[in-house]
């Protein structure tokens, strides 16, 4: 037997230039923050990447004022076709600097370069291209003949897709004529700050995009600020709830994209090899740090053993390690805090009696790592079947009939996404119709596109991002 070892194939870091410290991007300039600065670290080796300014209340106020002034004087009155050209320009610069963005994203976030290079950054450019085209066509979007922007948007995004979530927020907001104050997650601020530089390169008028860094306090201050008209948040359901409470009784508009515990239903007549790929892609894409991850596998009992064997064989080929290695499939867990949470829930799974399995894999000694893991024999009542783990951990449950699959799939306070695998067309549509989830991937999983609306039912939030539907959040309708 020949062992085909893949030699290290690291992507070069030379393309990125990480500064020692970063300020806040307000009114077109990098300025000092007045909160306690914090550090962004590389989760793959725990090295410090940069000191990051923290926005305090006065800084947030400054950013909101800058956004308001830009809205009143420049961006709001600007014809749509001119806004469009700025967005096209930004999209092009993102493509031109795509390698730099991908490498920086992988360093700051821990995700494999294959994903940041082939998924995140191309989608970021696509998002700006897509919404650029809407900027001068809003009268045809079905929201009235002259829909107006909302005003100043306060946007708070998570650490799992730092740049992509920025694009999901900023592109439609700007296309509709709003200005924004965006807060990236405290563990992954670097690509947002590089994006600030791209805004300058595109000669975007100062104040249209403001990027303020900080932790939860900064985010709370931003969403509570009286000067903003709209809040868009992607993150945990718990924080989403707090924001909804904060906005109660105000006139601020709100869209939320929150947690999930997606069921991935595999029927007995599925294309099994592709289903296994879909299961793997569903839960191990981006280390499982995906709100729409297919974290609950519901497999029909008649094929459960076969599917599990195939899945284990496939998992044994997953390559865990250096995010910058081009052959890495699973990178680093984003933070020590997240790693603790994944470990805690996995231990709960074992304690509740589920069977834990991971393929043999050597994890690096430095940094935050977690082996791809499946739990078999999971019951609906187990914590690992109900709570979002947000890591590379799959809970496997079985079902006997289509009705049982639907019942189990929908038996969750979440409703973001779901998967269904069958070669029978009518069963796909029957299942898709009954799943209470905003996105249903049939015979595929974890696909994203700027033309495709995305968002949840129930406690997975409200509002849609992407497509024509994504405009509504940023228009005064």
């Amino acid at each position: 037997m020949t062992v085909f070892e893949y030699a290290p194939a690291p992507e070069s870091r030379a393309v990125v230039d990480i500064r020692g410290s970063y300020g806040l991007f307000i009114d077109g300039e990098f300025t000092d923050g007045h909160g306690e600065p914090f550090k962004s670290i590389n989760p793959a080796d725990e090295s410090v990447l940069a000191d990051i300014a923290c926005a305090d209340e006065a800084d947030v106020d400054r950013a909101v004022r800058a956004a308001r002034a830009a809205y009143d004087k420049v961006w709001g009155p600007m014809p749509g076709r001119e806004r469009a050209k700025y967005l096209y320009r930004i999209a092009r610069i993102i493509q031109e600097r795509s390698r730099e963005l991908a490498v920086l994203e992988s360093i700051d976030n821990g995700k494999p370069i294959r994903e940041s290079r082939d998924v995140d950054v191309p989608l970021v450019a696509a998002w700006f291209f897509y919404y650029a085209g809407w900027a001068d066509k809003l009268a045809h979007a079905g929201f009235g003949s002259d829909p107006r922007p909302v005003g100043v948007a306060g946007q708070v995004i998570p650490w799992n897709f730092p740049l992509l979530m920025l694009a999901w927020k900023i592109a439609p907001a700007l296309a509709c004529g709003n200005t924004v104050v965006l807060k990236p997650a405290e563990t992954t601020p670097l690509t947002a700050l590089l994006f600030a530089d791209i805004c300058r390169q595109a000669e975007l008028p100062p104040g249209v995009v403001n990027i303020i860094t900080g932790a939860g306090d900064t985010g709370r201050t931003l969403v509570a600020h009286e000067g903003i008209d709209k809040v868009a948040f992607t993150g945990s359901t718990e924080v989403g709830r707090q924001i909804a409470r904060t906005l109660a009784g105000t006139n601020k508009r709100l869209t939320l994209e929150l947690g999930g515990k997606a069921a991935n239903i595999v029927y007995e007549d599925a294309a099994l090899d592709q289903a296994v790929e879909g299961i793997v892609n569903g839960i191990f894409f981006n280390q499982g740090h995906v709100c729409c991850a297919g974290s609950r596998l519901l497999v029909q009992e008649s094929v459960a053993d076969d599917v599990l064997e195939r899945l284990k064989t496939r998992m044994a080929t997953l390559r865990v390690g250096d995010p910058l290695d081009k052959n890495t499939d699973i990178g680093a867990i984003n933070s020590a805090e997240q790693l603790t949470k994944i470990k805690e829930l996995s231990e709960a799974g074992e304690a509740e009696g589920a069977g834990r399995w991971s393929p043999p894999c050597d994890l690096p000694s430095q940094g935050f790592w977690f082996a791809p893991t499946i739990f078999t024999g999971v019951a609906q009542s187990h914590r690992i079947a109900r709570e979002e783990i947000f890591g590379p951990v799959l809970s496997v449950l079985t079902f006997r009939t289509p009705d049982e699959a639907i019942t189990k799939a929908n038996n969750s306070p979440y409703g973001l996404s779901a998967g269904v695998w069958t070669e029978k067309g009518s069963q796909i549509l029957w299942t898709a119709q009954r799943l209470r989830a905003g996105v249903v991937w049939a015979n595929t999983f974890n696909k994203f596109d700027p033309a495709s609306p995305f968002g949840g039912y129930k406690e997975s939030g409200f509002g849609r991002e992407g497509g024509r539907h994504g405009l509504e959040a940023y228009l005064n309708v």
């Binding site: 696509a126 079905g142 359901t237 989403g240 709830r241 909804a244 409470r245 906005l247 109660a248 009784g249 006139n251 939320l256 929150l258 306070p413 796909i428 898709a432 799943l435 989830a437 905003g438 996105v439 249903v440 991937w441 049939a442 015979n443 595929t444 696909k447 596109d449 033309a451 495709s452 609306p453 995305f454 968002g455 039912y457 129930k458 406690e459 997975s460 939030g461 409200f462 849609r464 497509g467 024509r468 539907h469 309708v477």
Partner: protein, 284 residues
Amino acid sequence: MSERLAVRKTYKLFIGGAFPRSESGRSYVVTDAKGRFIANASQASRKDARDAVVAARKAFAGWSGRTAYNRGQILYRVAEMLEGRRDQFTTELRQTGLTKPQANAEVDAAIDRWVWYAGWADKISAVAGAANPVSGPFFNFSTPEPTGVVAVIAPDSPLLGLVSVVAPAIVSGNTTVVVASEPAPLPAITLAEVLATSDLPAGVINVLTGHRAEITPWLASHMDVNAIDLTGAPTGHVHDLEEKAAENLKRVLRPQDADWTAEPGTARMTAFLETKTVWHPVGV
């Protein structure tokens, strides 16, 4: 010869297709515009609200599973029956202080509004849905689906306002718990009597009468209610109701200045619709 003694009507709640009294055994006095007694209406309790939510949830799968055409037919049939109750509605509206022409006009508008929404049943998906041109070998389509159980706090426009908030919620397949206007609840119960003999399945519309300030917090905080329309929420309570609604991330329609005679647009329907997007590969 003495005058004939009128038979007075007991106004009850409408829950799951039946007309129970409040489980609390309470009622409150409904008066006309001049303060004269008209009737006792049931004063619903939190438990009545709970029962109404259970009834609405039970009805959801069946109602949302009907074809859009069938929902449209059923709603149109309701309009036909409303027409037959014109006199009763007119009388009830006159008791709230409208002149006869005003009351007639409002009944006309209410029935027309109901017909307008009935016609939307099999059209809203075409307007709010889409086939999305994604970059890859996938067919991708978005369809609007009903949110689920919607709590509707009806405005004080007792008939036109009422149908203008109820019809858009149910036409797409949602089921509702409606809190009627507190001072003028009678048209809501009359509407319920129409519904009870129509083809509308039991539980699709449930009507509670009573003190809004007492009932609405229980609906706003109920974890099995998916959305809440605050149009008729008592002044000063909106903040609290929204805070309660946040607990399970209800979709909240905030109160807005409404001209019930104006063309409504689709916003009241889309407020209680979820967009579901389905992907499927295209291959051989």
